[in-house]
Symmetry: C2
């Protein structure tokens, strides 16, 4: 192994920021690829760092001291540690991008309320038919999952003079008007999914539950694709229950991302359904990019390097993945 640490899934701007923060005495390798795309037979360092799309090979477990996922979600690392049962230190990065993600959620719901893609499509004919949108002010925003990101979404909704309702199993924020999901869904003009993916909540926004929304509702998912199955969203869009869907995350995202980057569309299953969904005219699809602001990249690179330095010094990450 030639390096102290190897970074997977590090795109251009992030690599540059990581290099800027790394101390001289640490050697590091970088690729924008996932582990599976890299074709590496084994880890190129005892410490590896990924984002959320790498599948960790079982055979690597013996040759790893530590994994740092440069994401606020850590379910994929937790699953690997449970599966392999090895004593690998694992860390994640809480809080580095809450505002960035929340602002992307706002951008998606506003663009959908105002039919921005269609506005842009019709500019070359300067034609306004069918472009009537809806204003944010006075409309009801339902934020499902009021953690760090969800709480920022609440602040933004309030800032836009929306009526904001929150749903969470832990109604811990004194400044949030909590409702049950059953009360919230039929009241909402816009629903934002900002939940953590846990063992219990995969498929939470299925056709049955989300079918309780009013016809014409906008649904935005900036959390995890598995919380809102693609086949269900397709059905709800086609029936008009949902008027628009904004997605930064996808059911079957790992397969979808690798397929798209290799130029081969997934044939079936959740990844194929996600691709079909993303192609609908009333869907705005972004490539898991909500975290990606200059502010967040800078914060993330600094905390990634601090986490690795602390692991090397003490043997533990400042934010260890809970098992």
């Amino acid at each position: 192994m030639s390096d102290d640490v190897y970074f997977y899934e590090a795109f251009e701007e992030e690599t540059e920021a990581l290099r800027r923060h790394l101390p001289d005495e640490l050697s590091a390798g970088f690729t924008w690829r996932t582990i599976q795309e890299s074709g590496h037979d084994g880890p190129l360092a005892r410490i590896i760092s990924t984002r959320t799309q790498s599948a960790f090979p079982g055979a690597w477990a013996d040759r790893l001291d530590a994994i740092l996922t440069r994401s606020t979600g850590y379910d994929h690392v937790r699953d690997y540690l449970r599966r392999t049962g090895r004593d690998i230190a694992a860390g994640y990065l809480p809080l580095y991008c809450s505002r960035a993600v929340a602002e992307q959620a706002m951008l998606l719901w506003t663009a959908l309320l105002r039919k921005l893609p269609r506005q842009v499509d019709q500019f070359p004919r300067f034609e306004r038919d069918g472009l009537t949108g809806r204003e944010c002010r006075g409309r009801t925003l339902l934020v499902v999952g009021v953690g760090n990101i969800g709480h920022e979404v609440v602040r933004i909704g309030r800032g836009l003079e929306m009526n904001v309702l929150g749903v969470d199993i832990d109604p811990g924020h004194a400044d949030v008007d909590y409702v049950s999901i059953e009360e919230g869904l039929p009241a909402a003009d816009v629903i934002v999914c900002a939940m953590n993916l846990t063992d219990e909540n995969a498929g939470y926004f299925d056709r049955r539950r989300l079918g309780a929304a009013r016809p014409g509702t906008i649904f935005v998912n900036i959390a995890r694709g598995e919380l809102a199955p693609a086949a269900d969203l397709l059905e709800l869009l086609d029936s008009g229950r949902l008027a628009g869907v904004g997605l930064d995350v996808y059911e079957g995202e790992n397969e979808l991302a690798v397929s798209l980057r290799s130029g081969v569309a997934p044939a079936d299953g959740p990844a194929a359904a996600s691709l079909e969904l993303a192609a609908r005219p009333n869907v705005i699809a972004t490539p898991h990019n909500a975290f990606n602001t200059a502010e967040a990249i800078e914060r993330k690179a600094r905390r990634s390097v601090e986490s690795i330095v602390e692991f090397i010094r003490t043997g533990a990450f400042p934010s260890p993945v809970p098992l």
Copy 2:
């Protein structure tokens, strides 16, 4: 003349709302076309209503009792009345769409800060290089022209936790931090043009003045194209002074709109420059659609009909165009 009133430039949703509000005793005709596109030899009613893209024929002046422009801007009607010198009653619609326009401005600057068009373009390859955006929170928004629309833009910017500065010849809002344009331009991350077009301010945002912005600034115009000449914006984009431009209005817009709808691109002049500008990858161009929300259409149809009924009853519009 077969009708009491004839509505030009009335697109689908607006026509429907106007029909809903018109009293039974008034007969009305409708077209989505401008006057020049309609091919009408003379007015089909003594009262006509347009938006901002119709050119009023000089020869019609003798056959018109009244013009209602269904827009908050009225410079085009004022110019016609001055040119013809006839005693035609003229009305406009203040305030019906301030929030709709302000929210579209926000959508444009947020989409530009986050490179939304490029995010969407790169989804089919699930590729994140070059997609790092900027957050609204903490950035400086300069609102130039703090009238009804500008004041809504100020509220929205504050709601997004931006630092908001205002520029106006009449610093009349107690809650706005006014600066001079010279102070404001180099401080801004985002500039929104929300001025009225007057005899004095055409070309206000020319290359010299807007050249004082910081490299990488976002510029949004939801007011009138003539306030920011297209050739100047092209130069400022190409030099990197502006990182993105959001436009809902265009220099030479009447010619541009008619050309585009007839499928013939304008050959030269401001309309051609506007078309070149709109095609740049870091420009988001919408077809003068900022006013177009369900809330505003409803308000506008109601006020249009109220204005016409009041003119018929009293001989004067509730909001007459100032000469």
